[in-house]
């Protein structure tokens, strides 16, 4: 067949032959004394993970605005929002379904969800894989047997394992998200009942109402300066006519 190239062994002169043989003997002697391994001796040592490793997810309720974005975006339907005693909705993760795509973390506008380097969590059964909000706040109980961290180093000729006598940290400083200031706004004022539920649930005092007995009108207002964009009124509005909208700077 034309186009095929004949492979010819390179021509070695004597000095090249001595050099390559000496290198081979040297490597053999080195390996016989201190053998290299290509594998990581887990769990006594652990591979060093990159900072943006997609692992076990932690949750900070103080930053959560109950926007449901994580549960909407989850392609595996692993995230369910559950009502907490304080009337807010917080995520729960079923690790039996989670595919660790971390779309939830990417979509979290408050930065309440963050990644860790924890990836080796053991469960006794499938039900246990359902992780409640409380369990997401603190990392799971970890017994660390590893003493060393291992890194793969690729140089010109080969792939080496670089061992360090220090353990890799499991927690990463979360990159603060770009804050998008949102405020609650009524999109269909004519359909407002003036039930004042928004005023009742508002924690920042942004929603207010004034009843004017003389004219039988209720003046409703949402002060955009005070509104923190938490979304509680949006969720509670009985007519579902409040929306979180972006603040134009």
């Amino acid at each position: 067949m034309s186009g095929m190239k004949k492979v010819v062994a390179p021509e070695y002169n004597l000095s090249d032959k001595i050099k390559t043989h000496a290198y081979a003997i040297g490597t053999a002697m080195e390996e016989s004394v201190y053998p290299h391994t290509a594998t990581v001796l887990y769990p006594r040592e652990k591979k060093k993970m990159p900072d943006n490793f997609r692992g076990y997810i932690l949750f900070d309720p103080d930053k959560c605005i109950s926007c449901f974005n994580c549960s909407f975006v989850c392609p595996a339907n692993a995230i369910r929002m559950k009502e907490a005693p304080n009337n807010r909705y917080y995520p729960t993760i079923d690790y039996g379904k989670c595919i660790f795509c971390h779309f939830c973390i990417d979509s979290c506008s408050g930065g309440a969800l963050r990644t860790t380097k924890i990836h080796d969590v053991a469960y006794k059964d499938v039900d246990e894989m359902f992780t409640s909000t409380e369990e997401m706040i603190e990392p799971p109980e970890i017994i660390r047997e590893d003493k060393k961290s291992v890194e793969y180093v690729i140089d010109e000729t080969d792939l080496h394992l670089k061992r360090k006598k220090e353990r890799d940290g499991l927690f990463v400083e979360a990159v603060p998200p770009v804050e998008i200031p949102m405020v609650s706004q009524c999109v269909d004022r004519g359909s407002c009942l003036a039930c004042k539920i928004c005023e009742r649930v508002c924690e920042s005092g942004a929603a207010s109402s004034v009843v004017e007995e003389a004219t039988m009108t209720v003046k409703m207002a949402i002060d955009a300066e005070k509104c923190t964009g938490c979304g509680l009124c949006v969720k509670e509005c009985s007519m579902q006519i409040l929306r979180l909208v972006r603040v134009r700077k």
Binding site: V183, D188, C195, M216, M220, M239, R243
Partner: protein
């Protein structure tokens, strides 16, 4: 999710007009209770229950009630704004219509021509609405309300429709209105139709989202507990029941093995007070009214009243979804007058 619209800071104030209280210094619910519920005017259309942000509900006795309203009532006045009987202007007669006709659906089976179902699904096919509120009943005649978004869902509701028992349609309509993208279609009794019209009058969201209102000819409905007890007493076995009808003043329940017949007038003892004060037989405020009376067996009398109703009816005819029959206006006179006589029961 929709992209949030951008907005300027500080333009979020609005006013809501609330109605005058007839009983000053009392909560709006107490007004409603005094004017409508305690005076036996309430038709149990549940318009108030659907709109109430607090805790208006139907209690065990099947009466509209608000347990611990002292604590939970938000006093917003929504209930009296929407109640069709708070400021009751009884409607009666045949009402305005564009076309008086009859139809028999070729696609669906029902008690008569199944035109209520046909109107909703044709409107869905037209793209006018994306969901309809349907009522189903179980073998014991208990009702439950469904949001139907496609024909295939209807196959799972084997019995279809309610028979002279109240159904909680409007609270589901409210939910549907917040979910829907295109619009909602609803089939209801005349009192519910009036309730929907009141909601549309007061709140633009209903005007925008409730696209098709099909009214049913209705003489009366019964509370489930009372009518089931009565019928069982008469020897009706719900599990064997095939159909029920009111023919020439007689209530006929056809079962697999026998037939139970008795005069409808005998049911007057359990006639709900709200129905005894209702004068609207044909649902005059609807887009389309359908019913059994006024057409041949197997057909539904169809009264097309509004432009929307006419559009859907024209679509049904164009697509050949229904056999067109003949409606006889004069056959309705007896029941229209029968209900008009109930005006004497109303003491405002």
């Amino acid at each position: 999710m929709k992209m949030a619209a951008e907005t300027k800071v500080g333009e979020a104030e609005w006013e809501v007009k609330i109605p005058e209280k007839k009983l000053k210094d009392r909560l709006f619910f107490e007004n409603l209770k005094a004017m409508v519920i305690d005076t036996q005017l309430c038709s149990r259309c549940l318009t108030c229950v659907s709109i109430c942000p607090g805790g208006l509900l139907v209690n065990e006795e099947d009466v509209v009630d608000f347990p611990d309203f002292e604590d939970k009532c938000l006093d917003c006045g929504a209930c009296v704004r929407v109640c069709p009987r708070y400021d009751y202007k009884p409607k009666s007669g045949l009402g305005d219509y564009i076309e008086f006709t009859a139809g028999q659906s070729k696609r669906f089976k029902g008690q008569d021509g199944a035109m209520g179902t046909e109107f909703i699904f044709s409107a869905m096919d037209m793209g006018l609405i994306d969901r309809g509120i349907f009522v189903d009943r179980d073998e014991q005649w208990r009702t439950s309300v469904f949001h139907v978004r496609g024909k295939e869902q209807l196959e799972k509701l084997p019995l279809g429709g309610t028979k002279y028992v109240f159904a909680d349609i409007l609270p589901e309509l409210k939910k549907a209105v917040t979910f829907t993208k295109k619009g909602v279609g609803v089939v209801g009794t005349p009192c519910m139709v009036s309730g929907v019209r009141k909601l549309q009058e007061e709140f633009p969201i209903f005007k925008e989202k409730v696209k098709l209102v099909v009214g049913l000819f209705c003489t009366e409905n019964y509370h489930y507990a009372e009518v089931s007890k009565y019928l069982i007493g008469k020897g009706v076995d719900f599990s064997k029941l095939i159909k029920t009808d009111i023919i020439k003043g007689k209530f006929v329940a056809t079962m697999t093995d026998k037939e139970v017949k008795f005069k409808v007038a005998k049911l007057d003892d359990i006639l709900p007070s709200g129905c005894s004060r209702c004068t609207d037989f044909t649902a005059v405020e609807s887009d389309v009214s359908v019913g059994s009376v006024g057409s041949a067996a197997g057909f539904s009398t169809t009264v097309v009243r509004t432009e929307t109703g006419k559009e859907v009816w024209d679509y049904i005819k164009k697509m050949g979804n229904a056999e067109v029959g003949e409606g006889k206006v004069e056959e309705l006179d007896f029941l229209i007058n029968h209900k008009k006589e109930r005006e004497k029961n109303i003491q405002l």
